[in-house]
Structures are given as structure tokens and as C-alpha cells.
Point group: C2
Chain length 104, copies 2
DNA sequence: GCTAAATACATCGGCAATCTATGTATCAAG
DNA sequence: CTTGATACATAGATTGCCGATGTATTTAGC
């Protein structure tokens, strides 16, 4: 049981709170989920690249103390997709819960 | 967004209501989820075989009107796993919902 | 009687999401 | 001066699911 397929939505949601770089996004997801969701680097970075070339986020490279940080922010299109994906999540949730016989 | 990884749990849950053959299980999942969850044959049958050689379900072949039906039923071990998986589903659910900022 | 759709099982190939492992590099703590 | 955290990235493997295909029977429509 992993609930695969939610990562892109989670990334967009985190970026709704403001721009962040990859590593920070992963930490945020972990923190907000109280340690339950812990996506690895080999999952995170490819997902960010994919979201970027879909135009849902865009990035800017910054050099801070000689260390390169790639900072991502939500695009207007990304915001629209987030709203749609949240709705779809709830729809799937209701469906699975209905089969499992849960209240919601 | 698909909430992938829930199929084995859904199958076990359906079999909790009593023995059923593969095709019927798929129909039940579809019906209970009001058409939202519609697993294909190329997904369903391999999943059933996997659950069987994990010992979570067992099957019996029946010939009804010259047509072979493989009827599956939950094992005791399958029942235990179902309880655990339902709990795990709720755990993952709370985690994703927390990130998405939902009530539950 | 013929045909199409539903029932019923099964397997193969492929795509997508994730993880493990590996690589590079800087910074902070002990 | 070494370990752990930060920060990015890619390659290979595994898993979950789907599409396509194959076989065969039953039922409904015409």
C-alpha cells in the first residue's frame, strides 16, 4: 500500500505556500505528513523536472554561499492543475473508501 | 492521480462478503465505487494469482454449464492482512490529506 | 440461425511511479 | 578531520497498472 501517483500534487501544494528548492519541498512533505511520506531524491528530482517541462512549475538557479540552489515556483497553469488534482484526489478517495466501507 | 497500490486490499475486502470468482470481484469493485474504480483483466487476474501464492486467498475450480469458474475465498491469513492494510490505508490517507490541508 | 455483447479466464509487452545505488559538492558539528 | 545534513543529478531495477490479444461459452437482439 503506497498510494502511488500523488507526488506531483503534493509538490504543487507545497509550492502554493511560496517558492522553494527541491530539498526543502521534500522536507516539507515529510514534516506536514508527520514523517509518513518520505520521498527519495531519485523520485523527487525527476518529478520536479517533469513538472517543469509540463509548465506547471518554473525554476530559477541561485548561488548561495557557493552552493547552487534551484528554486521552484508555481505557474498559473500549475495552480489550475493543483485545484483539479485535489478534486480528483477526493474523488478517488471517496471511491476507495466506499469499497472499504468507510464513512469517508 | 490514481491512488495506485490499493487493488490487493480492495480484492480482500470484497471477498470478506463471501467467496467470488475473478470477474465478479471486478464488477463488485466497480459497483461499490459507483464506476470510478474499473480494474482491467490484465491487472485483475495477475493480482489474484499473486494474492493466492501469498496465501491470502485460495481458489477452487468449478465447472458450471461447461464454463470454468475459479472461485476465490479469503484465508485466515488474508483476513489478518486485510485488517492491517485497511489501517495502513487510513494512515497514508491522513498523511496525504495533511499535506493537502484537508480536514481528513 | 446469425451476430454482437457480456461473461470468464489468461498472458505478454509496455509505460509510469518509485526506490536503491551511485556520484559530486558544500557546510556545520563534534 | 570526519560524519551528517544539505543540495543536485542520473542509471538501473521493481512494481502497479493498462492495452492488446487469445480462447471459449452464454445471452440478447434481429
Amino acid at each position: 500500500m503506497n498510494l502511488k501517483g500523488t507526488l506531483p500534487t503534493l509538490i504543487l501544494q507545497v509550492l502554493l505556500s511560496g517558492p522553494a528548492h527541491g530539498y526543502r519541498i521534500a522536507q516539507d512533505i515529510k514534516a506536514r505528513s508527520k514523517g509518513v511520506l518520505e520521498f527519495k531524491e531519485g523520485t523527487l528530482y525527476p518529478a520536479l523536472h517533469e513538472l517543469e517541462n509540463q509548465g506547471l512549475i518554473r525554476s530559477e538557479e541561485r548561488t548561495i554561499n557557493g552552493r547552487v540552489r534551484r528554486e521552484y515556483r508555481l505557474t498559473d497553469e500549475g495552480h489550475k492543475v493543483l485545484v483539479a488534482e485535489r478534486k480528483e484526489f477526493r474523488r478517488m478517495l471517496r471511491a476507495v473508501s466506499a469499497v472499504l466501507g468507510e464513512s469517508s
